[in-house]
């Protein structure tokens, strides 16, 4: 997995690319750290270029939400497709994190 960040006054968008799995733990930890420091109150993870997420990856998205809540930021997931969209739907992640198309 890798990512790119796009900042716009109060709204940061982070685009995740590739596969988000168990092995990306350290990388996502670092990203969450950056998101906590960022200016934007609203942190959007753009998942449209993410091809695959496993259960550990879902766990990391939930940790990201928890960490954002702790610093009064909002986490939004956007644009999931394919397997990623199916997994988010089956696990009803929309009940915990706002999901936009």
């Amino acid at each position: 997995m890798d990512y790119g960040i796009e900042q716009r006054d109060r709204d940061d968008t982070i685009r995740l690319r590739g596969r988000l799995t168990f092995n990306d733990h350290a990388k996502l930890r670092a990203l969450i750290g950056e998101m906590k420091q960022a200016k934007g109150q609203r942190q959007t993870l753009d998942l449209s270029s993410l091809e695959f997420v496993d259960s550990a990856g879902i766990g990391m998205l939930l940790i990201a939400r928890e960490e954002m809540t702790a610093v009064n930021k909002t986490l939004v997931l956007r644009g999931a497709v394919g397997q990623v969209k199916r997994v988010l739907t089956v696990a009803q992640i929309g009940k915990l994190i706002p999901i936009e198309d």
């Binding site: 168990f22 091809e51 695959f52 496993d54 259960s55 550990a56 879902i58 766990g59 990391m60 939930l62 940790i63 928890e66 394919g82 397997q83 199916r86 739907t89 089956v90 696990a91 009803q92 009940k95 915990l96």
Partner: protein, 383 residues
């Protein structure tokens, strides 16, 4: 063994004056357990009894020379990592290269520089001690993981248990359980209910390895404490979820499918916490019918509610449950997914239980690498 006082050093040299020189030098360096040998044969003979931590080896000797002795001892697995420090008056680059090619650890040229020789001896002894520590740690980790794995396998129903379930209820269960490392985050169980019904569940913890495995023991204990799933799988999951929410660190969770086969009614009642879609088919069906696995994973939100769902399971009908490793196998840019798996299941749908699992697993492995714990359960109504 790390201290000079304990280290055992074998000096192999045909020249008595040289041996005494080395002995005196080692003595000054604090090494008191030193044994001497006068050629390669003598050296090899003394290895067994003396069990050295390091050998100081001359090259040119009668009967068996140093090259030959080194080659011999390296062929024995017990001496594979023993430091062999060559001390020789042969000093051409090709001699050094030849010594290293037969397994020498290091090389000092005669005439000996005492300070340098002692320094090298100490370096190699330290390295050996560190290597031993690492090997000991590795062996311990291996044996503990093996023990933990056998404990984890004991969480699963035994073969004898499955036979008696089949005799009692006419429901055969075939199972495949394969953690991706020594320990896994999957487990499953069955429980016979008094009125001829059979409760079954399959759990898959997020992640894999030791952390996920420890969670399987936790959940197994909770499942044992709770009353059986009975007719209300959704309530069973909601109760389990509440218990797990207080236990799991944030970001860890489990997916689970829990259900009850009711042979009288011909129905499989189930509830799902983000599990894979259960599949059922009856004799004569062309393809399996997929259930609905959606629901919040266990351990995330204590107020989570689950839905009771059902699938038909008439006499002769089959129910297939599996962990998500089976549908996350990469295919081109996507993954196999439930529809892909259903197509493979359809191919083998009429095979006997163990043959069904073997054929399906062969197809899955041929599809792509399976890099997570894989559990697959086939339940067949024999009556």
């Amino acid at each position: 063994m790390t201290t000079a006082a304990d280290a055992r050093i074998l000096v192999v040299d045909d020249n008595r004056v040289n041996r005494n020189l080395l002995l005196a030098l080692l003595e000054r360096g604090g090494f008191h357990h030193v044994e001497q040998a006068e050629d390669g044969n003598d050296g090899l003979a003394r290895l067994e009894l003396f069990q050295p931590d390091l050998i100081l080896l001359d090259l040119m000797m009668p009967r068996m020379d140093g090259f030959e002795m080194c080659r011999h001892l390296r062929a024995d697995p017990r001496w594979k990592s023993l430091p062999v420090l060559i001390q020789s008056s042969l000093n051409r680059p090709e001699d050094r290269a030849r010594a290293f090619s037969v397994g020498a650890t290091d090389y000092v040229a005669k005439p000996i520089n005492g300070g340098e020789l002692l320094a090298r001896v100490r370096i190699h002894l330290t390295k050996r001690a560190l290597l031993h520590d690492l090997q000991r740690y590795h062996r311990r980790a291996q044996s503990e993981l093996a023990l933990a794995r056998s404990m984890q396998e004991r969480l699963l129903p035994s073969a004898a248990r499955l036979t008696s379930t089949q005799e009692a209820l006419g429901i055969a269960i075939d199972a495949h359980f394969a953690p991706s490392s020594e320990l896994g985050g999957d487990f499953w169980g069955e429980r016979r209910l008094p009125d001829g019904r059979l409760a079954v569940y399959l759990v898959d913890f997020s992640g894999h390895g030791v952390g996920a495995a420890l969670n399987t023991f936790r959940l197994h204990a909770i499942c044992q404490q709770l009353a059986a799933i009975s007719g209300e799988p959704a309530r069973f999951l909601a109760t389990l979820n509440k218990r797990l929410c207080g236990l799991l660190p944030f970001g860890q969770f489990a997916t689970m499918l829990a259900g009850v086969i009711d042979p009288m009614e011909g129905v499989f009642h189930y509830a799902s916490a983000a599990a894979t879609a259960p599949m059922v088919w009856a004799p004569g069906d062309d393809a399996p019918q997929l259930g609905d696995g959606s629901g919040l994973p266990l351990g995330l939100l204590s107020s989570a509610q689950y839905d009771n769902r059902s699938l038909p399971l008439p006499p002769g009908g089959r129910l297939f449950l599996y962990s998500d490793a089976a549908i996350e196998i990469p295919v081109g840019g996507d993954v196999l997914d439930e529809t892909g798996l259903a197509a493979l299941v359809a191919r083998h749908r009429d095979r006997e239980g163990d043959a069904f699992l073997a054929a399906l697993l062969a197809d899955l492995r041929a599809t792509g690498p399976i890099d997570d714990d894989l559990t697959a359960l086939l339940l067949t109504r024999k009556t």
